[in-house]
C-alpha cells in the first residue's frame, strides 16, 4: 500500500474531525429581511424631504431594531454587525487588549472574507449621512475604522452614539454640551432620565444618547436593543421610543425640518412657523395599553386647539402629526396626559398568578375610595381570545370580591382586566396577568429549545414569539439560575406571555470539577439527608447544604407550571478516567457500608472476590490504574457499582429539594456525559426510574433505556427526549430534518434543539443560533421545525405516543457490571460497541427488543421470551447464570458475542465461562443444543454490523441471524428491503388496533454536501438524491395500509413499494379492516352554547388518533386538536362570532371525516 495515500487519508480525517467542522447552515451576515412585520404604530412611515441614510453598528437580535425603527420611521440604513457589546469583530479582539484571537463557535467567515467585507463596508459608510452606534462603544473600534469615522465626521457626517452601559463619552478635541431634541421624550418613562449631549467635530456633529444604567441585573445576555433602553418593553411607549430615535436622526441630518414647536396636554398645538399649504394635523389619544382611544384630523394652522373628549385615567399620550397635502409626515410630537378622577381602580388582588387547568380563580378588585358603578371583568389570552367576561354591579363599596371560572382552552397566559365603568363611560382599567399550567400533558410530540428569556425588551420578546410560531413548545432558559430571585421569577412568566412553557436549567451538579476544583467530595449530601430523617432541610427550614438555586426558581415558577426541572446539564461522574472519583475518606467509609449490605459477611466478600480480608475495615479502594496494578479488580468493580448508587442518591437528594417546594415537579437530567464510560457513573437501569424527564444526547443505547425505564406517574407523565442542533457540527438540511423523526421512531416524545443562541450577541459572526438579525428563523432550524410541524399536524406524534414499540420476545442483557468488566478486559470488544451492534442489527430487521437488567435477570428470564442476547456479557452473577441456563433448558435461545459469564458480577474472572456447559464450544457461529433450547456463540460475527446495516451492507449477517432466530421461533412480521433486497432499518409501534411501520430514510451523500458562504450566495443550497431510497415493505399477511405522511390509502396488500425522500420519516399504518369513519356528537341535546361554556364532544370510531377542527360561522379555523380518547372540549371565546359553528373530526388514518354543527349564542 502506498504509504502516502494511506496516511494522507488518516490524517485528513483527523484534521477534519479536529478542526474542519462543517460551516454549513444558513448564514445571516448583514442580511436584514423586512418581511416580518411586527405590531407597530407607524409614526412617520413616509415623510417629506430627503430620507436620512444611516450606517448602523449593532449586534445580535438588537439589529432587529433597525427594522422596528423602519416600520415606524422613514429612513435608509446600512448595517455593520459587531461581535458583541464590547468587541468589534472576532478578527479584531486583540484591539481590546485581548491578545487571544477567538473565533466564535460555528463561525461564518474567515479572516480573508472579513477583510473583503470590511473594505466594502468602509466604502458604504462614505455614502451615509449618519453613523449610529447602537449600544457599542466608540473606543471599541479598531483604530483604522475609528479614524475613518472621525475623518467622515470632520467632513460633515453625523455620529450618534448610544453607549451600552450609560458610561460618559469623551473624545479628544470635542466639547460636548447638553442638548435637547425637538421631541417631548420626557413623556416616555424609560427616556425620562436620558442624558443627551452634542459636540462638534470639524463640519460634523456627534450626538451622545446616554440611558441611565438599569437597576435590574440582566447580565450581558439580557442587554438587547440597539436603540431602546434596556428593559423598556411597553405596549404604549415602545412606539414612541422609536419615534424619539427618528427625531434624533432628523436632528443630526435635517434639523431645519422641525416645525412643531409645542403640543400641550390640553390639546393646544403651536408651530414654529406658518403651516405648509394644504397640510393638516392628525391627532390621537393612546391609552397605557397602546390602544388608540380617540383620534381626529384638523386643518393645519400655526396655532390650533384640539378638543379632547372626557378621557379615562388610562389615557396617557396625545400624539400629533403634521401631514402634508400628499399624505407624508412633515413633523410629529407628543404630549403626556395625566387624567384625574375622584375614584379609580387601585389593583386586582389574586392569591397567586398561576393556575391549574380549570381551577377557579378568585380575587379582589379594590378602588381608591368607595364607588358605584360596574366592573367589567374579562380575560384575553395570548392568542387574543377573550376567554372570560363578566360584569359586576356594585355601589358604595371600596372593594369587590370575584370568582372567575375560566374553562381552559389552550391558553398559556391571559391578561385579567377590570374596567371600571360609570354611566356607561370607562373611568379606569387595570390588568393583571394570569398564567395557566399547561405542562402536565406530554401525550403529543413536544419541541423544546435551549434559550434565554431574561430580557424584557421588544426584540427579545418578539424572538420568543417567533419561536412559539415555529412550533417550539418549551424553552429551557439557561439564565434564570444565575439571575436575581426576582428576575428568575420573571423569566418563566415572560415565556408564558409568548405562549411557551418554561423548563428549569441547572448547571452540572456533579462531575470531575467538584473534586478537581472544589477540592471536596460531591456525594455527601444524601447521607446528610438520611441522617436528618430524610429531609433536605434542617429544623429551621434551612437547606442542609447551600441553597440549591433551582429551589429558588421553583418557588417562583411552580404555580405557573414548569415543564421540567433539570438536575444538571451534562452531569457525569467524571470526564476522563484520570478524574475518576471519589476516593475521599467519607466515600471509602460509605463504600465499606455498601460492601456490608452487598455481601453480608466478610466471608461472602472473600468468596466473591477470591480475597483474604479479615474485616471490611481493611478494604480500601484506589483508582483504576492502581487497583489493576495491585490486582484489586473486584474492589474496583464493586466500587464503580457503589459510585453509581452514590451518583443516583445525589440526584435523589436534589430532586427531594425541588419536590419540597414543588410537590408535583417533573424532575430529571439531560445531556448526560459519559454514559457508556466506566467512570461516568451512569447506571441508567437504576437511575432513570427516579426521573420523569430525561433528555440524553441521542444514542440508541441510552434512548432505549429512557423509553423502557422512565415511567412517570398519572399526575406527572414522563417527558422523554433527546438533544440535537448545531453542536453536532452539521447543520445541512438533511442532517437537521432527520432528527425529529429519528427520535420519534426511537420512542421519544420530544426533541430539544441546542441552541437558540444568545439574543444579545448571536447571529452575527456565528450561526450556532436559530435566528437572523431580523428575527427570521434560519433554515438550519426551520428544516427541523417544519418536520416537527408534520409530526404534530398529521397526528403522527400523537399516534406513536399512543402506541408502544413492538416487542418480538427478544431481551438484551443490560448490566453495568459488563461495562466495568469490559474496562478490565477490553480486548475483544467494549460494552457499548457490542450493544450498538446487537441493537443495530435488530433495528435493521425491524425486530423489537427490551433490556433485561441484572436484578431482573437474577429473578429469571420472563416467560414468553424467545431470545436472550448477551452483548459482551462477561460479568454475570451466579443467579444470572442460573437464569440463563434454565431459560435455555426450557427451550429459549441465548446468543452471545464474546466471553459470556467469564467473570462474576464483581469482576472475579473464572478459569472458564460459567456458561460453558450451555454454549459447548466458544467457536464462531457455534450453535449448541442445551436442554430444549439453543446457545449461539457469535464471536465477531456481528462486529461492525450496526454501521454496515445502516449503509445496507449487512445482508449476509442479517440473513444468518434471521436463520438463527427462526430456530427460536422469532420471525419478523414485517420487513423492509431496499432495491438490492437488503433489509433496511425501521421500527414498529403497535396499539390495540394499529400497527405503524416507521421508516426514516437515510441521508444522501449529496445532501450532506451543503455548504454556505458569506455574502449573497450564503444560503445557496445544493442537495441531490442519489436514487438509493427505494423500499419494498413486506407484511406477513395482507392488510389495509395507509401512508400517513402522504395521506394515501395503499390498498389491501401484502407488500408495497415506496420511494423515500432522503432524511425524512414515513409512517405506514396497517389495519385489519379499512379505516373507520369517525363519530362525533355534541354532548348536549340543544347543541346550543353560550360563549365561555364548554362544548363537550363525544368522539369515537377511529383506530388511534383523530384530528378535531373547529370553525366559526365564517369558516375560519379557530381550533385544532389532536385526540386519542373518547371526548373532546371546545370553549368558544367571548370575542368570537355567534352563529352556527362546525366541528369536524378527521381520522388521522385514512382521513375520513365527520362534521357536526353547534350553535354559539
Amino acid at each position: 500500500m502506498n504509504i502516502k495515500s494511506l496516511l494522507s487519508g488518516i490524517l485528513a480525517c483527523i484534521a477534519f474531525l479536529s478542526f474542519g467542522w462543517s460551516k454549513d447552515g444558513e448564514v445571516s451576515w448583514r442580511k436584514l429581511d423586512e418581511s416580518i412585520v411586527t405590531p407597530h404604530r407607524p409614526i412617520a412611515k413616509t415623510t417629506t424631504g430627503t430620507k436620512p441614510t444611516a450606517m448602523i453598528f449593532a449586534c445580535g437580535v438588537s439589529q432587529r431594531e433597525i427594522i422596528e425603527l423602519k416600520q415606524r420611521f422613514d429612513y435608509n440604513y446600512k448595517l455593520w454587525p459587531v461581535l458583541n457589546l464590547k468587541n468589534f469583530s472576532p478578527f479584531t479582539l486583540a484591539h481590546n487588549n485581548n491578545k487571544k484571537i477567538r473565533t466564535p463557535y460555528a463561525s461564518i467567515m474567515r479572516n480573508e472574507d472579513y477583510q473583503i467585507e470590511e473594505k466594502k463596508l468602509l466604502e458604504e459608510m462614505e455614502q451615509c449621512d449618519l453613523i449610529v452606534l447602537g449600544k457599542f462603544s466608540f473606543n471599541a473600534f479598531p483604530t483604522h475604522i475609528r479614524n475613518k469615522i472621525l475623518q467622515l465626521i470632520k467632513q460633515g457626517k453625523g455620529l450618534i452614539i448610544i453607549p451600552d452601559d450609560g458610561s460618559d463619552m469623551t473624545l479628544e478635541n470635542v466639547s460636548f454640551q447638553k442638548t435637547d431634541i425637538d421631541f417631548n421624550f420626557k413623556a416616555i418613562p424609560s427616556l425620562a432620565e436620558a442624558n443627551i449631549k452634542i459636540g462638534t467635530f470639524g463640519k460634523g456633529k456627534i450626538l451622545v444618547i446616554n440611558y441611565p444604567e438599569i437597576k435590574v441585573k440582566i447580565g450581558t445576555i439580557g442587554r438587547v436593543g440597539a436603540f431602546s433602553p434596556y428593559e423598556s418593553e411597553d405596549p404604549l411607549y415602545y412606539d414612541y421610543i422609536m419615534a424619539f430615535m427618528g427625531k434624533c436622526f432628523w436632528h443630526m441630518t435635517a434639523p431645519e425640518r422641525s416645525i412643531i414647536k409645542n403640543v400641550s396636554p390640553d390639546g393646544k398645538v403651536e408651530l414654529k412657523k406658518t403651516a405648509p399649504n394644504n397640510s393638516r394635523f392628525t391627532y390621537a389619544v393612546l391609552d397605557k395599553f397602546g390602544r388608540e382611544i380617540f383620534k381626529g384630523t384638523q386643518k393645519a394652522e400655526k396655532n390650533i386647539s384640539i378638543t379632547l373628549p372626557e378621557l379615562p385615567v388610562t389615557a396617557k399620550l396625545l400624539e400629533v402629526k403634521l401631514i402634508s397635502s400628499d399624505n407624508k409626515t412633515i413633523d410629529y410630537e407628543i404630549a403626556p396626559l395625566n387624567i384625574k378622577k375622584s375614584v379609580i381602580l387601585k389593583n386586582i388582588t389574586l392569591p397567586k398568578d398561576g393556575w391549574k387547568i380549570d381551577e377557579v380563580i378568585s380575587g379582589k378588585i379594590e378602588f381608591t375610595a368607595p364607588a358605584k358603578g360596574v366592573v367589567k371583568l374579562s380575560a384575553v389570552d395570548n392568542s387574543g381570545r377573550e376567554i372570560y367576561r363578566s360584569n359586576y354591579a356594585f355601589s358604595g363599596r371600596k372593594s369587590l370580591d370575584f370568582t372567575a371560572k375560566i374553562l381552559h382552552q389552550k391558553s398559556s397566559f391571559a391578561n385579567l382586566s377590570a374596567q371600571f365603568i360609570q354611566d356607561g363611560k370607562l373611568i379606569d382599567e387595570i390588568r393583571t396577568p394570569i398564567y395557566f399550567d399547561t405542562t402536565r400533558d406530554t401525550s403529543d410530540f413536544i419541541f423544546g429549545i435551549w434559550s434565554y428569556a431574561n430580557s424584557n425588551t421588544r426584540t427579545a420578546n418578539l424572538l420568543l414569539k417567533q419561536m412559539a410560531a415555529h412550533g417550539i413548545d418549551v424553552v429551557m432558559d439557561a439564565h434564570a439560575l444565575y439571575a436575581s430571585e426576582e428576575r428568575s421569577h420573571f423569566i418563566p412568566r415572560n415565556l408564558k406571555r409568548a405562549g411557551l412553557n418554561y423548563a428549569a436549567y441547572s448547571i452540572r451538579l456533579v462531575g470531575s470539577h467538584i473534586i478537581r476544583h472544589r477540592k471536596k467530595c460531591g456525594y455527601r449530601y444524601y447521607e446528610m439527608m438520611q441522617q436528618n430523617n430524610g429531609s433536605p432541610f434542617d429544623k429551621d427550614g434551612r437547606p442542609l447544604d447551600r441553597e440549591y438555586l433551582t429551589t429558588r426558581i421553583a418557588r417562583g415558577a411552580k404555580n405557573i407550571g414548569v415543564m421540567f426541572y433539570n438536575l444538571g446539564d451534562e452531569n457525569t461522574g467524571a470526564d476522563v478516567l484520570e478524574d475518576e472519583n471519589c476516593f475521599c475518606d467519607d466515600c471509602q467509609r460509605r463504600f465499606r457500608e455498601y460492601l456490608k449490605r452487598e455481601h453480608g459477611t466478610i466471608e461472602n466478600l472473600n468468596k466473591n472476590y477470591g480475597s483474604k480480608y479479615k474485616s471490611f475495615n481493611e478494604i480500601k479502594v484506589y483508582p483504576f490504574i492502581k487497583s489493576v496494578e495491585n490486582g484489586k479488580y473486584c474492589e474496583w468493580v464493586d466500587y464503580r457499582l457503589f459510585m453509581e448508587e452514590e451518583f443516583i442518591k445525589l440526584h435523589i437528594f436534589y430532586k427531594t429539594k425541588i419536590r419540597s417546594v414543588d410537590p408535583e415537579a417533573r424532575v430529571g437530567i439531560e445531556g448526560m456525559a459519559g454514559t457508556s464510560r466506566t467512570y461516568g457513573s451512569f447506571n441508567l437501569a437504576k437511575m432513570i426510574p427516579h426521573f420523569e424527564f430525561c433528555c440524553p444526547y441521542f444514542v440508541q443505547r441510552d434512548a432505549w433505556a429512557v423509553v423502557q425505564y422512565m415511567k412517570g406517574s398519572k399526575n406527572i407523565p414522563p417527558l422523554r427526549g433527546a438533544w440535537f442542533g448545531s453542536y453536532e457540527g452539521e447543520m445541512n438540511d438533511q442532517y437537521i430534518q432527520q432528527q425529529p423523526w429519528r427520535y420519534l421512531f426511537a420512542g421519544m416524545g420530544s426533541i430539544f434543539y441546542w441552541t437558540s443562541g444568545v439574543p444579545a450577541t448571536a447571529s452575527t459572526y456565528s450561526n450556532a443560533c436559530i435566528f437572523g438579525p431580523d428575527l427570521k428563523l434560519l433554515s438550519h432550524f426551520t428544516k427541523a421545525s417544519d418536520e416537527v410541524k408534520i409530526i404534530k399536524e398529521k397526528a403522527i406524534g400523537k399516534m406513536l405516543l399512543n402506541s408502544t414499540p413492538r416487542y418480538d420476545d427478544i431481551l438484551i442483557h443490560y448490566s453495568n457490571s459488563n461495562l466495568h468488566v469490559a474496562t478490565l478486559n477490553p480486548d475483544k470488544s467494549t460494552w457499548d460497541a457490542s450493544l450498538a451492534d446487537f441493537q443495530g442489527i435488530l433495528f435493521s430487521l425491524g425486530l423489537g427488543y427490551r433490556y433485561i437488567d441484572q436484578q431482573n435477570l437474577e429473578k429469571g428470564v420472563p416467560a414468553g421470551t424467545k431470545v436472550l442476547m448477551l452483548p459482551y456479557s462477561q460479568a454475570m452473577s451466579e443467579k444470572e447464570v442460573a437464569s440463563v441456563r434454565e431459560f435455555v433448558k426450557q427451550g429459549g435461545m441465548v446468543i452471545a458475542d464474546y466471553n459470556p459469564a467469564t467473570a462474576n458480577k464483581y469482576g472475579r474472572f473464572y478459569s472458564e465461562s460459567a456458561l460453558k456447559d450451555v454454549f459447548g464450544k466458544f467457536e464462531k457461529m457455534n450453535i449448541a443444543r442445551y436442554g430444549k433450547g439453543y446457545a449461539v456463540y457469535l464471536d465477531d460475527y456481528l462486529s461492525g454490523s450496526y454501521a454496515r446495516s445502516m449503509k445496507g451492507e449487512a445482508a449476509g449477517i442479517q440473513k444468518g441471524l434471521l436463520h438463527i432466530f427462526k430456530k427460536a421461533g422469532v420471525v419478523p412480521s414485517y420487513s423492509v428491503v431496499d432495491d438490492k433486497g437488503t433489509s433496511r432499518e425501521f421500527s414498529v409501534f403497535e396499539n390495540e388496533k394499529t400497527t405503524s411501520l416507521c421508516i426514516l430514510a437515510p441521508r444522501t451523500a449529496a445532501g450532506a454536501a451543503r455548504q454556505s458562504a458569506v455574502g449573497a450566495e450564503g444560503a445557496a443550497v445544493k442537495t441531490a438524491v442519489d436514487g438509493s431510497l427505494f423500499r419494498t415493505v413486506i407484511l406477513k399477511k395482507p392488510m389495509h395500509v395507509y401512508d400517513i405522511v402522504k395521506d394515501k390509502y395503499l390498498g389491501y396488500v401484502k407488500s408495497f413499494n415506496v420511494d423515500l425522500a432522503p432524511a425524512v420519516g414515513r409512517i405506514f399504518v396497517c389495519l385489519e379492516k379499512t379505516a373507520m369513519k369517525p363519530e362525533i356528537k355534541v354532548d348536549k341535546f340543544s347543541a346550543s352554547f353560550s360563549k365561555g361554556e364548554a362544548v363537550q364532544f363525544k368522539i369515537g370510531n377511529f383506530e388511534n388518533a383523530a384530528i378535531l377542527t373547529v370553525k366559526d360561522p365564517s369558516g375560519k379555523v379557530v381550533d385544532v386538536q389532536r385526540l386519542t380518547g373518547n371526548s373532546a372540549r371546545f370553549v368558544p371565546a367571548f370575542n368570537e362570532p355567534s352563529g352556527k359553528w362546525t366541528a369536524e373530526l378527521k381520522n388521522a388514518i385514512g382521513g375520513m371525516k365527520t362534521s357536526i354543527t353547534f350553535n354559539v349564542k
Binding site: 500500500m1 504509504i3 502516502k4 494511506l6 496516511l7 494522507s8 488518516i10 490524517l11 485528513a12 483527523i14 484534521a15 477534519f16 479536529s18 478542526f19 474542519g20 462543517s22 460551516k23 473565533t103 463561525s107 467567515m109 474567515r110 479572516n111 480573508e112 472574507d113 476522563v576 478516567l577 484520570e578 483504576f624 490504574i625 489493576v628 496494578e629 464510560r677 466506566t678 467512570y679 469490559a822 474496562t823 478490565l824 478486559n825 477490553p826 480486548d827 467494549t830 460497541a833 455548504q1011
Partner: protein
C-alpha cells in the same frame, strides 16, 4: 564584580544559551514521560488494538509515551524502562526509557505541537533491524475556517534501513520540511515501519538557524 556587571553577564549568558541551545520541536522524543491509561477508555486505541496493535501488555492498562500515538496498521510497541520487567540498560540509550517499535504497516506519531516548515536537524538513536520511514505531514489553511487544519500531503524526510541489532547507533541528518509542499503552514512528525523492529531513543527535530 559590580552588580551591574554581574547582571550583564547573566543576561548575556542567558541570551547566548537561548540562541545556541535551540530546542527540539518534538515533545518527549526521549520517551521519558510515560502515561498509563485504561485501554477501554479510548475508542481510538481500542480500534488500534482490535486492528492488531499490541501496546505494552495484554492487561487492561497500557503505557504510551505522552504526546505520542499509534495510528493504523499493526505492530508491537513497548516502553522499555531500564531495570524494570527484566530490561537491562543495553536497550535504553539515555535516561530511563526507550521505545521498542515493531511495525507491520503502522505508524507512531507525535501529536503535539505542530511546527513550521523549514530546515531541521533530525537526530535519533536506534538499535535493531528493518526499515523505518520518518515522515512529516503538512497542513495548510482550511478555506472554511481560516485556520491551519487542511491536510495537504505527507513528506518522507528520512529512511532508516539498517541492521544494528547489537549496538545503538546515532543518526543525524539535516532535513527540509514542507519546502516542496505548496501552502504548507504547519507540520507534524511520525515514523512508520514496514518490517523489522527497532529500539528508539532521543528523537529530536531541531530548527537549523
Amino acid at each position: 564584580m559590580t552588580m551591574k556587571k554581574l547582571f550583564t553577564t547573566i543576561i548575556c549568558a542567558a541570551t547566548v544559551c537561548g540562541v545556541t541551545a535551540a530546542e527540539s520541536v518534538l515533545r518527549n522524543g526521549d520517551f521519558e514521560i510515560v502515561e498509563k491509561r485504561a485501554k477501554a477508555t479510548s475508542k481510538h486505541l481500542m480500534g488500534q488494538i482490535k486492528q492488531g496493535w499490541n501496546i505494552g501488555n495484554n492487561g487492561p492498562v497500557l503505557e504510551l509515551p505522552k504526546w505520542w500515538l499509534v495510528n493504523n496498521g499493526k505492530g508491537t510497541l513497548r516502553i522499555i524502562t531500564a531495570g524494570e520487567k527484566g530490561e537491562n540498560k543495553e536497550n535504553v540509550k539515555n535516561g530511563k526509557n526507550s521505545l521498542y517499535f515493531e511495525s507491520r504497516g503502522g505508524q507512531f506519531m507525535c501529536t503535539a505541537p505542530k511546527f513550521k516548515p523549514g530546515k531541521y536537524t533530525l537526530k535519533f538513536s536506534a538499535k535493531g533491524k528493518g526499515a523505518l520511514s520518518f515522515n512529516c505531514y503538512c497542513y495548510g489553511i482550511n478555506p472554511k475556517t481560516g485556520k491551519v487544519a487542511r491536510f495537504i500531503t505527507s513528506e518522507k524526510i528520512h529512511v532508516l534501513k539498517d541492521d544494528t541489532a547489537n549496538a545503538w547507533k546515532d543518526y543525524t541528518q539535516v532535513v527540509e520540511i514542507g519546502k516542496k509542499t505548496e501552502g504548507a503552514k504547519e507540520c507534524t512528525f511520525a515514523f512508520y515501519g514496514t518490517y523489522g523492529a527497532f529500539y528508539l531513543d532521543d528523537i529530536s527535530l531541531t530548527p537549523v538557524k
